[in-house]
């Protein structure tokens, strides 16, 4: 039996972006926040190192320097007006979080303390700058808790463990969403004037990933199936320091506090790749440097496919006070004592720069002319503003969620006040029924684990840090096979209560619909830029490729690409050296 709800604003996802948006909408319009998890389980909570804002509490700094670093870090694929907004408004949002109680570490004179982070520099690249505001190495945890606290204070209406499976449109406008209630297996139709998609990342398409099991690209896949294009999906960030073979993130703050990378000869190899900022170069550069070291035979570990992270020289109090969680990950999961031993690491799939295309107010825009989709918003990792371009700088994801969560929320509240609900399309839950009923009814087929293992292993082998036309073409063929198999996906649990077997099968379908646009766009982009490195086209090619990709799903399930211009500004693309 389907239950119907009516709200003005519906927010899908209760991480940092979703909850920040809810704070902006909830005292303005009737708001519901729908999450497949409990809000405090969201992946924002795993962010460790910090959130950047040019507060200049410790060193001279300006928002304009921050904006320059963001544009350069993104290899000039960043839309510059959006980067200026984000970096300009950053101090305001940090002070707001502090006023809401976020327990930032403090300077001796009681201000918010700041530390170094990769790619963040003084005066356009002169030297690393202390810009990252932090709460030990659990900054994301404190942001998530603080935003949840503010939602509790405002009595925000949460629908926890409701899994949104479809976006409803009518007359070119958003009409609502359909959600599956995990506890009961019942469907719920939420009618809404505006919907914000804020479901986070999709890193689980790769075998080695820092992402939670639940980060399965839900919003991009749902939008993509409804004809919304996905922007810049070929740009995925591979974070250099994942726990060897497990992928769990070891924060860049480790290097911000002075940790260094060593190869098998215990050489500080980043001195050769980025002579100025060395181990604090942006993530894409370091991940590629690690792969180069491995390729030249200087990797560590039994497969010679990692390098060392060294913090043995750091003062004990820095490790215990500023990096306690990271230190514990090494102790617990690797049985390594980082104060005395080298920590084996390797790049891990971390962050999708691409996603649902939006303008600076979180409003979804499609096509080269950026035609708005009235009522549809997106923010956070599943969105593409684009402030991260081809490679996101560390800390800018936490900044992105608070700035564009707030801006998107404010805009959707205003919009929701000025319009009426559009009628629901006829038989609103039919698409969702078509998604889950066949899976529940099927009695023979392929178990999800077989499809998921092959997806994750092949994406790791063929679409990771180093890509080639040959590998990507092969991956495209594998995805076609996996899609055919997925049409016969077989689960064991046929029940209605907490059917996590069904939920995981649906998530797997979403992952496939993130992987395919990624691979097709990566194959098309015959250049190397930011997180997208083509061994067969190792140079950036501004003449042909200084443009965003847009991947559309065609009727027959294939991918069609369009391109749109990058919004440039005062920063003229130049060679990216550090």
């Amino acid at each position: 039996m389907t239950t119907f709800h009516t709200y003005d604003a519906v927010i899908v996802g209760a991480g940092g972006a979703g909850m920040r948006a809810a704070i902006a909408t909830s005292d303005q319009v009737r708001t519901a926040v729908i999450s497949k998890l409990y809000p405090t389980r969201s992946h924002t909570g795993t962010a460790q190192g910090g959130v950047c804002a040019a507060l200049a509490n410790v060193e001279e700094d300006y928002p304009e320097w921050h904006a320059f670093d963001t544009v350069k870090g993104g290899d000039y694929l960043v839309d510059q007006p959006a980067a200026l907004i984000m970096c300009g408004e950053a101090p305001r949002d940090i002070y707001e979080l502090e006023h809401w109680g976020l327990p930032f570490n403090r300077t001796p004179d009681g201000k918010i303390d700041q530390r170094r982070f990769g790619g963040h520099t003084r005066n356009h690249g002169e030297a690393p700058v202390k810009r990252a505001c932090y709460a030990a190495d659990r900054t994301g945890h404190m942001i998530l808790q603080t935003l949840y606290q503010q939602c509790v204070k405002r009595n925000v209406r949460f629908f926890n463990e409701f899994y949104v499976l479809d976006l409803l449109m009518n007359e070119g406008r958003v009409a609502g969403v359909v959600a599956y209630e995990l506890a009961t297996g019942e469907l719920h139709v939420f009618r809404a004037k505006s919907v914000m998609m804020a479901t986070g990342g999709s890193g689980r398409m790769f075998k080695v990933s820092s992402n939670a099991h639940t980060l399965t690209g839900d919003a991009p896949a749902i939008a993509y199936r409804r004809g919304i294009p996905l922007e810049d999906m070929e740009f995925f960030q591979f974070h250099p320091t994942g726990v060897y073979k497990m992928g769990i993130l070891l924060s860049e703050a480790v290097r911000g506090e002075g940790g260094i990378l060593l190869n098998s000869e215990e050489e500080r190899f980043m001195e050769r790749y980025a002579p100025t900022v060395k181990d604090l170069a942006p993530r894409d550069l370091i991940s590629r440097a690690i792969f180069q070291e491995i390729k030249e035979g200087r990797g560590v570990g039994p497969g010679k496919d990692g390098v060392w992270l060294d913090v043995r020289h750091l003062p004990r109090e820095v490790i215990e006070e500023k990096l306690p969680d990271v230190t514990e990950f090494a102790r617990l999961y690797l049985s390594v004592e980082p104060t005395k031993e080298l920590v084996p690491i390797q790049p891990t799939a971390h962050y999708s720069m691409g996603g649902i295309p939006t303008d600076e107010n979180g409003l979804c825009v499609t096509g080269p002319e950026e035609t708005p989709v009235p009522g549809l918003y997106s923010a956070g990792e599943c969105a593409c503003v684009s402030v991260h371009g081809a490679n996101r700088l560390g800390t800018n994801s936490l900044l992105d969620i608070v700035v564009f969560g707030r801006r998107g929320g404010a805009h959707m509240a205003e919009w929701s006040k000025t319009v009426d609900h559009v009628a629901l399309p006829g038989d609103p839950e039919s698409f969702t029924r078509g998604l889950i009923d066949p899976i529940l009814a099927r009695t023979e087929g392929v178990p999800p684990v077989e499809i998921r293992d092959r997806l994750q292993e092949t994406m790791y082998d063929l679409a990771f840090v180093v890509r080639t036309a040959e590998g990507l073409s092969k991956m495209k063929g594998i995805l076609d096979e996996l899609k055919t198999q997925y049409a016969q996906v077989l689960i064991q649990d046929k029940g209605k209560m907490y059917n996590t077997d069904l939920m995981e099968a649906v998530e797997l379908g979403f992952l496939l619909d993130n992987a395919e646009p990624l691979v097709v766009a990566a194959l098309a982009r015959e250049e190397s830029r930011g997180g997208h490195y083509r061994d067969d086209f190792p140079e950036r090619d501004d003449e042909r490729w200084l443009k965003h990709s847009l991947a559309y799903r065609e009727e027959d399930g294939s991918v069609r690409l369009e391109f749109k211009d990058v919004k440039l500004g005062t920063y003229v693309p130049m060679e990216r050296k550090y």
């Binding site: 998890l37 409990y38 405090t40 389980r41 969201s42 992946h43 909570g45 795993t46 507060l55 101090p91 940090i94 002070y95 502090e98 006023h99 809401w100 109680g101 327990p103 570490n105 403090r106 001796p108 004179d109 009681g110 201000k111 918010i112 709460a135 030990a136 659990r138 945890h141 404190m142 606290q149 503010q150 509790v152 939670a212 099991h213 639940t214 073979k245 769990i248 570990g301 039994p302 497969g303 617990l332 999961y333 690797l334 049985s335 390594v336 031993e341 080298l342 084996p344 178990p447 999800p448 684990v449 689960i491 064991q492 649990d493 029940g495 209605k496 209560m497 907490y498 996590t500 077997d501």
Partner: protein, 255 residues
Amino acid sequence: MAAGTVGEVLEGSDDRRAGASNKITLRLKIRRYNPEVREDSWWDEFEVRMLPNDRLLDALHEVKWRYDGTLSLRRSCAHAICGSDAIMVNGQNRLACKVLVKDVAPKCTVEPIRGLPVLKDLIVDMEPFFAGYRSVLPYLIDDGSEPDTERPQSPEDRHRFDDTTKCILCACCTTSCPIFWGDEGYVGPAAVVTAHRFIYDSRDVAAGERMKILSDKSGVFRCRTTFNCTEACPRGIQVTKAVQEVKRSILFDRF
């Protein structure tokens, strides 16, 4: 804990990719419950082959993905920060992602955490737990001023409540508390930890209000100082100490 050397760990990790094995056997005894199938709970046993440094969560996934897809549990981040996968392992509350196979092999017993209604297998109703959390005004209440920049706070004042900011609301502490087992009305240690985080924050002005709430009959004085909560906390928070500090402040401080 038998700590392996780096070499051993790496050998084991590499086997994971190579598909080879120095795997060990783990016999899992899991308490099951599914009201769609039968009224009472039952036990199932599974034998899985795992690497020593795999997480218990990996072993539960192995069961779910390869043997019995109906096994239901909550999990997300898999590295002890999201707080989803609190379960009882050999009678003690743990996060499944923070227990290594080598530390429980060759056999271990897995049950849902106690004191909250079981909904299915390892999934419990978290609502009473969050009701306790919400009851202590879990948000900063400031003096109403709106400074242009940050409110100043000395590193010492910041340090005063550092320990209790680590809480991930996993419920390991509250559901290890015998008082909570007997009386769901008791706010439980996690709610006191949350209150502590604000009571000792120099920027907050509502300590008195929170302590009034906690001096109620379902409040902090129900605690009998068994230290179960501190032992259960996967974040290493000194939970009992925080509870005692709140008790002492209610008795001796003027708010």
